[in-house]
């Protein structure tokens, strides 16, 4: 029988048990607990361009080439390759012993099917297959590219880091329509996806793939080199609230928080057990994207007038980045990457002349009509960019119609090509990871192929011609010269306006070592004390 004394005793015992040190969950040494920047809503890295799915893709899948610290492609799944003297035939041989997570060997025909599917979703893939006569499997291990014209960037394309990455999946999955998601995760990467443990919007789990064969030699750098999985399991937990995520990290409930909130960085920095390493030196680049289909931004003179009064540091400061975390004077390619150049960027020297901008905009034919600027309530960085950008446009004399919505509404609305007055738009703001802007091939906001271009649909034939020229060029010095021309042309055509670069550190336990650069990669990482 339940008595009052019994109840009081039980309650005291429960309270006592809860008060014991270590009662809150603590980390298991063989499990890496990670909080991604966003929910892993889609698992198919070919179907979506979401960064978080790319990170997931690198765990589950492998690539034919990887990228080293100098942004050069290095063989990854392949032993090596041969190229004919005329550059029209490439033969690549898969490493022996590669297996998918279901135990099936990785065959050349799996690679062919995977690359074909990728080519429907990726600009560089499209360029490669446009240059190809045939991509075929020769036996189980040899992959042959027969080209109509030389495509010297073939290894770069197959090792590209920007979305979409050409991951290799089994042929039966790669035959899925590129517009339909693959429903089963079977790759040949260092970790297996545990489908049964997935809770969409909350959790994903991976187990080390014991059948993975790392490269025998070399050094792990970015996505190249031997991939040694040191943890038995990796668990991703989605924690939507940044404050809760930070406390969970400080409370040792998680090991690694991909993107800590800017305002909470001092808190994390003050904890001696935590570190704030920067794993992506390419950072992120914010942009203002005008709609080239409708007035006033269908007029390049108006776009150029706005470009001249932009001061990147103001945008970055408003977004909350400390001086050491932001960079202005950013052109088309991220600073400190092979194609970065300062060509033409002297137009931002001195104070912005708004009187001149207003006069030029009027002279170019702006009639005072409303300019629909899509602002967003979240995330805070984009909200700040939009607010500063709307103010800048007002100072340029535009009649700004600032419409605030949530980010997903922006994503939907930016796809609408109708007039701004009919539910379309004139301007929106976003940011790209530097990895997506490394070169003209994958740089989506630089494209000038009209209706096929990314939202905003610029038509810039000279930019397109320079891009094609860059893709045919193998010599790095010549590539750099073309990149300079591309930047100068971009400052003329203004397909978009760069608003500065920012760097966000990742936050993790100091017990973790071996974090690689580029993006969160889960091989090579280990915890001090683990055998």
């Amino acid at each position: 029988m339940l008595t009052r004394r019994g109840m009081i005793g039980g309650a005291a015992a429960l309270a006592g048990a809860m008060a014991l040190p270590g009662c809150a969950p603590r980390l298991d040494g063989r499990v890496l607990r990670f909080v991604p920047q966003a929910d892993l809503a889609s698992l198919d890295p070919i179907w979506t361009t979401a960064s978080v799915t790319r990170t997931h893709g690198y765990m589950v899948y492998d690539t034919l080439f990887g990228i080293d610290a100098a942004f050069r492609p290095q063989p990854q799944m392949i032993e090596g390759f041969e190229r004919d003297a005329d550059g029209l035939r490439w033969t690549m041989r898969l490493r022996p012993g590669l297996r998918f997570h279901d135990g099936e060997p990785v065959r050349a025909r799996d690679c062919v099917a995977s690359l074909e599917r990728w080519s429907h979703r990726d600009a560089m893939g499209q360029a490669l297959f446009a240059a190809a006569d045939a991509v075929t499997a020769q036996g189980d291990r040899d992959l042959v590219f027969r080209l109509k014209e030389p495509f010297p960037l073939l290894p770069d394309a197959l090792g590209k880091l920007g979305v979409n990455v050409p991951f290799i999946m089994p042929e039966r999955h790669a035959r899925t329509s590129p517009f339909v998601q693959v429903s089963e995760m079977v790759g040949s990467g260092p970790y297996r996806f545990l489908d049964g443990e997935r809770i969409v919007g909350a959790r994903a789990a991976y187990a080390r793939f014991d059948g993975y064969v790392p490269r025998a030699a070399g050094r792990a750098e970015w996505t190249s080199g031997p991939k040694h999985a040191r943890f038995d399991r990796v668990e991703w937990t989605v924690i939507p609230d940044p404050a809760t995520a930070s406390i969970a990290l400080r409370n040792r409930e998680i090991d690694w928080l991909e993107v800590p909130s800017i305002d909470l960085l001092p808190l994390i920095a003050g904890d001696p057990a935590l570190a704030l390493p920067e794993i992506d030196p390419t950072g992120a680049v914010a942009i203002l994207r005008p709609n080239h289909l409708w007035p006033p931004f269908d007029n390049p003179a108006i776009r150029r007038a706005v470009l001249r009064v932009v001061r990147q540091d103001g945008f970055m400061a408003a977004a909350g980045f400390a001086r050491e975390a932001r960079r202005s004077g950013v052109g088309v390619f991220p600073p400190d990457t092979p194609l970065a150049t300062s060509a033409g960027l002297d137009l931002w020297q001195g104070e912005p002349d708004f009187d001149r901008a207003r006069a030029e905009i009027r002279a170019a034919g702006y009639d005072g009509g409303p300019v629909v600027v899509m602002g967003t309530t979240d995330p805070p960085i984009l909200r700040a960019l939009a607010e500063v950008g709307a103010d800048l446009l007002r100072r340029c004399g535009f009649n700004v119609d600032y419409q605030v919505m949530d980010w997903n509404a922006v994503i939907q609305r930016r796809a609408r090509r109708v007039r701004p007055s009919e539910g379309g738009w004139n301007v929106f703001f976003t940011h790209w990871t530097g990895l997506d802007l490394l070169n003209p091939a994958g740089h989506m906001s630089l494209r000038g192929n009209g209706e096929k271009a990314w939202f905003g649909w610029p038509t810039a034939p000279r930019l397109e011609a320079l891009r094609a020229q860059w893709m045919r060029e193998a010599d790095p010095a010549a590539q750099k010269r073309i990149a300079e021309q591309i930047q100068l042309q971009a400052l003329e055509d203004v397909p978009y306006i760069p608003l500065g670069q920012f760097h966000m550190p990742t936050a993790c336990s100091r017990s973790l070592s071996g974090l690689l650069h580029g993006l969160p990669l889960f091989w090579n990482v280990e915890r001090a004390g683990n055998a």
């Binding site: 008060a19 040190p21 009662c23 979703r121 809770i199 969409v200 909350a202 937990t237 406390i247 409370n251």
Partner: protein, 313 residues
């Protein structure tokens, strides 16, 4: 009692149908194109059109509603536009977390609210009564997320007694379950406990002033028996009704609580689906929660009828 129960169940059917119609119409009229979302950024208008036809989105409202209703009756709530996972599976993955949160919050709220309300009514104007009034004001006015952060900071971060985030199934690890559920449930229970305490107080004040209570005291019964047996049992019906209606309050609060405490529940699923315009998920979860609400109210009605025979007439 059986006849009453059958009448109540029958009365719930048109309510459920109206809810279904409302949910479907709401999402049908909402802007946005699920086919465009499913096809992704790189799809051409022709691809999107093809997908729209394949999904049956180009058919008339009535046809789609009847088909949808037919599928609902067969337990098929549709498939998420973003993940390609059946909505029923998504709900199934999260229902335990949300229901655990609600039940534990209900236990905490009623465990605090009913005794405090009864105590306040027993000595109106006394210290307990004033404490209930102050607690009630605080419970109603402090937002759930503030309570959540405060509890999390003190009991999880400073003292380390509980987990800051997450959810552990009670069937997998009961200790882990308590460590993850007690803080969010306590923060969710605040306003609810205040509501129950106020209602209990008001109802008990009325009941304790009635003749049968005076008669019980005159017969020499102990005060505990008078208050609990003669007072609380007669005040139970309105308290239970309020508790049933409060289920909606708990569901609303669960959205915030699940976000603050990182609990993978139905509240977060709904918010994520709304932000992504994942219409089948919004439809499925709304319908599911509406049915739960109807079922809870039906259960409360039947319970009230079982406790108080006057209700059955």
């Amino acid at each position: 009692m059986l006849g009453y129960a059958l009448r109540r169940v029958a009365a719930s059917v048109p309510v459920a149908f109206c809810v279904a119609l409302f949910v479907f119409a709401l999402l049908y009229l909402a802007p946005g194109d699920p086919a465009a979302l499913m096809a992704g950024d790189a799809a051409s208008p022709a691809d999107i059109e093809k997908l729209r036809a394949a999904l049956g989105l180009d058919r008339p409202f009535l046809t789609r509603f009847v088909e949808w209703l037919w599928r609902i009756l067969h337990g098929d709530l549709g498939t998420s536009v973003f993940t390609g996972i059946p909505v029923a599976t998504l709900i199934g993955q999260r229902v335990l977390a949300t229901f655990s949160l609600m039940i534990v919050a209900l236990l905490i709220a009623s465990g605090i609210g009913v005794p405090m309300g009864a105590l306040a009514a027993y000595r109106p104007g006394g210290a307990a009564d004033r404490a209930v009034m102050v607690g009630g004001v605080l419970g109603f006015s402090v937002p759930v997320f503030v309570t959540g952060y405060l509890l999390s900071y003190i009991f999880a971060y400073r003292l380390g007694w509980f987990a800051v985030q997450g959810f552990v199934s009670p069937f997998a690890d009961f200790g882990g379950f308590l460590r993850t559920i007690l803080l969010p449930a306590a923060s969710l229970a605040g306003a609810y406990a205040a509501l129950i305490a106020r209602i209990t107080r008001a109802t008990m004040l009325d009941v304790l002033a009635q003749d049968h209570v005076r008669t019980a005291r005159a017969k020499g019964l102990g005060e505990a028996r008078v208050v609990i047996v003669h007072g609380l049992s007669n005040a139970a019906a309105p308290i239970l009704t309020v508790m049933g209606m409060g289920a909606a309050v708990l569901l609303g609060g669960a959205v915030v609580t699940e976000t603050v405490f990182g609990i993978p529940g139905l509240g977060r699923l709904t918010v994520d689906a709304v932000l992504r315009r994942d219409y089948p998920v919004i439809q499925g979860v709304t319908l599911f929660l509406a049915f739960i609400f109807v079922a809870v109210n039906l259960g409360v009605d039947l319970l009230c009828a079982a406790i108080d025979p006057r209700v059955r007439q």
